[in-house]
Amino acid sequence: MTMPPVEVVLFWVFTVAIIVSASGVLFSRNPVASAMSLVACFFFLAGIYVLLLAHTIAALQVLVYTGAIMVLFLFVIMLLSLTDTGPLAKVSVSRVAGVLATVAVLGVLVATVSRVPNAGTPAWMADPERLAAFGTIKELGAVLYTQWLFPFEAVSLLLLVAILGAVVVAKAKV
């Protein structure tokens, strides 16, 4: 019996871990447990990103999502000292409609994805130089600071406005 390639093994390990931890976000009664499940989910997603040769984005995922955004979430949860009444305590019309809509969307997405042809290994990977450069900070920076310079500056402005907006909205007295 031959071992499956390591990428296949890692893909299924990460996939199962992502689905389990994402379900943990959905079904935990305690918001802190939800947030910790989400941290785990983002870590395993970073692993998937590495399998997809997106090393820079995987590093950003860990730094920004698990490092910054989730810490912000945990701060707010602890600041508000929330007690959750439980996720699925009562069945209502809107909840049943939500489940039905989600099943419908999942059906459409799976039907669409199943029509994607399996082309095997992409042709561009035959070039070892391109394969080595793909997804590195060098390549990303070259594209980001030439072709996408204006959107990059716009995002920096957006972040500045978001900081100011968050301070103004969350202040007790304006």
């Binding site: 959905l26 989400l38 997603l45 998937i48 969307v105 990977m125 909205v169």
Partner: protein, 103 residues
Amino acid sequence: MTPIVPTANYLLLAAVLFCIGMLGVLVRRNALVVFMCIELMLNAANLTFLAFARELGDATGHISAFFIIAVAAAEASVGLAIVIAVFRSRGSVNIDDIQAMKH
């Protein structure tokens, strides 16, 4: 050349992740958990971008994922500030209690 996992598998994982997030947004009533589920949906979109970036050998998908992460950070900071403001004025983050603009 080692065989790779087909792009369709990654797209399928993204679809499942998106639907878990969508179910959370529609079913959960705690505004903070709804926010976390929106983050899950954004990550499913990122995963799709990166899967196609590898399929096509094009770094533009990575740039899109980069911008999504930056916008998600901005969205989380403003959204959580709104949650704090709502909690101050109403003493609850249950979205069934927040319906002043419903009628």
